[in-house]
C-alpha cells in the first residue's frame, strides 16, 4: 500500500500538495454525483468527453514522457472499435460476447502497434519519421475502411459498411449486466480514473524514469545499459492500447463507427489535446482532453463550421506562445501563488 501511495505522489506529474488532493477528491465526487442532478442526454455527452481521455493519456505518455510523437493513434482507436464491433456483433446474444470483443480489440491494436513499432524503433529511425509513418498508416486505414461498402465486405454477420460505417454495435455487458446510460457513464469514469492512476504510478516507477531519460538523451541512456528500443516499443504498444480503450468505449457509447474516426481531422485531435494541456503532465492532458472535447462537441452539435478552424488556431497559438501547454502553465502559476503563502517546509525536495 505504501509503495502505491509513494508511486502516485511521486514527482512526475503536477499536483502533489494536500490542497490538490482535496480538490481532486471534490472533483471526483462532483463527477460521481453529476448524474443525479441532470438529464440522461447530458450524462451521455459527458460520457463522450470522458471516454476520449485514455486516448489523450496515451499521447501524453508517448509524446510527453517518452519523446516519441505519433500522428496516427486514432488508427488504434479505430482498429479496436471495428474489431469489437465484429466480435461482439457476431456473438450477439452471448452474455460474454462484448467481453471477448474488448479483449480482441485491445489485442488487435496492440498487435498492429507491435508490428509497426518493431519496424520503426528497431530501425532507430530519425525522430521526424515516426509521426509521418503513423499518419500514413491511419490514412491508409481510412481509405481501406472507406472502400468496404457492400455485401462482400462482411465478417460473419457484421457488415463493415464503407463510408457509412459499422452500425448496431452492441453495448458492453458483463454477464447479464448491460452498461448503457448511467451505468456506462460510471464505467467511463472508472476507466479514466484507473488509467490515470495506473499511468501516474507507471511514470513514477523506475521504468517511467528510464523513459523520461530516453526522452532527454537517447544516447546517454543507452550507454547506461538500457535497451532504449525495447522500452520505446513497450511505451508505443501501451499507448496504442490506451487509444484502443478509447475506441472500445466510443463504439459502446454510440453503437456505430465510421472510417472518418481514423481520418486526418480526428488524427489531429489527440495531438491537440496533449499540446494544449501540456505534454509533460498526465493530469493536464486529462483536463484539456475533457475541456476540448466539450468545446468541439458543443460547437459541432450547433453546426458550427468554424470548429476545426478554432481548434487548429488554438494549436498554433499554444505552440507559439505556450510551448509547455496552457494547463501546465496555469498550474505552475497557481503553484507559485500557494507556495508563496505556505511555509518553505511544504516545498517538495
Amino acid at each position: 500500500m505504501r509503495t502505491i501511495v509513494g508511486l502516485i505522489s511521486g514527482g512526475a506529474d503536477i499536483g502533489r500538495t494536500r490542497v490538490f488532493w482535496i480538490g481532486f477528491g471534490v472533483v471526483v465526487l462532483l463527477f460521481l454525483l453529476y448524474p443525479t442532478q441532470t438529464s440522461a442526454f447530458r450524462v451521455s455527452n459527458v460520457s463522450y468527453y470522458l471516454l476520449n481521455i485514455p486516448l489523450g493519456l496515451g499521447m501524453a505518455l508517448l509524446w510527453g514522457y517518452c519523446g516519441v510523437l505519433s500522428f496516427g493513434h486514432v488508427a488504434y482507436f479505430g482498429i479496436a472499435g471495428y474489431i469489437y464491433g465484429v466480435i461482439a456483433g457476431n456473438m450477439s446474444g452471448n452474455p460474454f460476447g462484448p467481453l471477448a470483443g474488448v479483449a480482441g480489440g485491445l489485442l488487435a491494436s496492440a498487435f498492429v502497434a507491435g508490428i509497426f513499432g518493431y519496424f520503426v524503433f528497431y530501425a532507430r529511425v530519425q525522430k521526424w519519421i515516426i509521426p509521418i509513418l503513423t499518419l500514413v498508416l491511419t490514412l491508409l486505414l481510412e481509405t481501406f475502411l472507406g472502400q468496404t461498402a457492400g455485401y462482400q465486405w462482411r465478417i460473419g454477420s457484421v457488415l463493415l459498411g464503407g463510408y457509412n460505417g459499422m452500425t448496431g454495435i452492441p453495448w458492453f455487458q458483463l454477464g447479464g449486466f448491460v452498461f448503457e446510460g448511467y451505468s456506462f457513464y460510471y464505467l467511463c469514469l472508472l476507466v479514466v480514473l484507473a488509467c490515470y492512476f495506473g499511468l501516474r504510478m507507471l511514470v513514477n516507477s523506475n521504468f517511467g524514469q528510464v523513459i523520461v531519460a530516453i526522452r532527454e538523451d537517447e544516447l546517454r541512456t543507452e550507454l547506461f545499459g538500457y535497451d532504449i528500443r525495447a522500452r520505446q516499443w513497450v511505451v508505443f504498444v501501451l499507448s496504442a492500447m490506451l487509444a484502443g480503450l478509447s475506441g472500445l468505449l466510443y463504439v459502446q457509447w454510440g453503437n456505430y463507427i465510421t472510417p472518418s474516426q481514423v481520418g486526418l481531422l480526428q488524427a489531429a485531435l489527440p495531438v491537440i489535446w496533449a499540446a494544449v494541456g501540456g505534454t509533460t503532465s498526465l493530469l493536464a492532458v486529462v483536463i484539456s482532453a475533457f475541456a476540448l472535447n466539450w468545446v468541439t462537441y458543443t460547437l459541432s452539435a450547433q453546426g458550427n463550421q468554424y470548429a476545426m478552424v478554432i481548434i487548429g488556431s488554438l494549436l498554433v497559438v499554444t505552440m507559439l506562445f505556450f510551448p509547455r501547454g496552457i494547463v501546465v502553465m496555469i498550474a505552475e502559476r497557481l503553484g507559485r501563488l500557494t507556495a508563496r503563502r505556505a511555509a518553505p517546509s511544504q516545498l517538495q525536495p
Binding site: K127, L140, L264
Partner: protein
Amino acid sequence: MDVAPLVLSLLYQFGTGAAFFFLAALGLVVILGMMNIINLAHGELMMIGAYTATITYHAGVPFWLSVILSFFVAAAFGAVLELLIVRRFYGRELGALVVTWGVSLVLGQGALLFFGPFLPSIGIPGGSFSYGDFSFSAYWLILVLISLLLILALWWLYNRTPYGLQAKATMQNAEMAKSLGVRTPQIYTLTFSLGAGLAGLSGALLAPTVTIAPFMGQQFVAPAFITVVVGGAANVIAGAVASSAVLAAVKTPIGMAFGSFSGTVALLFAALIIIRIMPNGISAALQKYFNRRAGGAMR
C-alpha cells in the same frame, strides 16, 4: 500480342508514377533538406497552388501562365508563414511538425468556408494518342518532362548560383556561415518560400488530374511523405529522385495487378522495409556507398 506497346505502356506507367511522387514531394524535400523542418501544411500549400491555377484559369488566363502564377502565390504565402510561425521552431523538429499541422487544419477548413466544397475542374490539356492497344495522355508525358527539367533547375540553383552556395553553407554549418557574412535568416525565408512555391507549382500542375476541393491536399500527404521518408535527408534531391523511382517501381506492377489501393498499401510496406534496412533513407545509403568507393580508390 505485340510486346513493344506493352513495354511502352509499363514504361509510361512507371514514368508517370515516378513523376507523380516526385512532384508531390518536391516542395517538402527542399524544406526538409535545407532546414530540417517537416512541413505538414505541404498538402495545403499544394491546394493553394491548385486553387490559384483553377481560379485564374477560369478567369481566362492561359493554363501555363496560371501555373507560373500559382508558384508565386504559394511562395508569397510560404514567406509569410515562415516569418510569422515557422521561424520560431528551428531546431525543434517535433514542435515544427505539430505547429505546421495546426496551420494545415486552419488552411483546409478555411478554404472550405471561403471557397465552398469544390471548384470547377480544369480539363486535362494536351489530348492523348495511342500506340498498339494502349492510349497515353500527352499531359502526363509533359509532366514527366517538367519533372526532369525541375531536377535540372534545382541542380543548377544549388550548384551554380550565389543563393545555392550560401544555402548549402547555411545547411552545413549555420553559425560559421553567419560569421562569414551570410544572412542566414534571409536564406531560411527564401528556402521556405521556394519550397512552398514548388509545392504550389506541383499542386497547379497536378490540378487537371484531380478533383479541386479544400481537402485535396490530403491525397498527396501519403505519397509525398513516403517519398521523403524513403529518400532520406542526406541529399534530398537525389534521395527524392531515387525514392520516386523505387516507389513507382513498387506501385506500378502491384497497382496494375491488384488495384490502386493495394498499390498504396504496398508503398507503406516498402517504406517500412526500406527504412528497416536503411534507417536514414536511400540517399544516406547511396552516399555511404560512394564514400566507401571513393575511399577505396584513394587507398
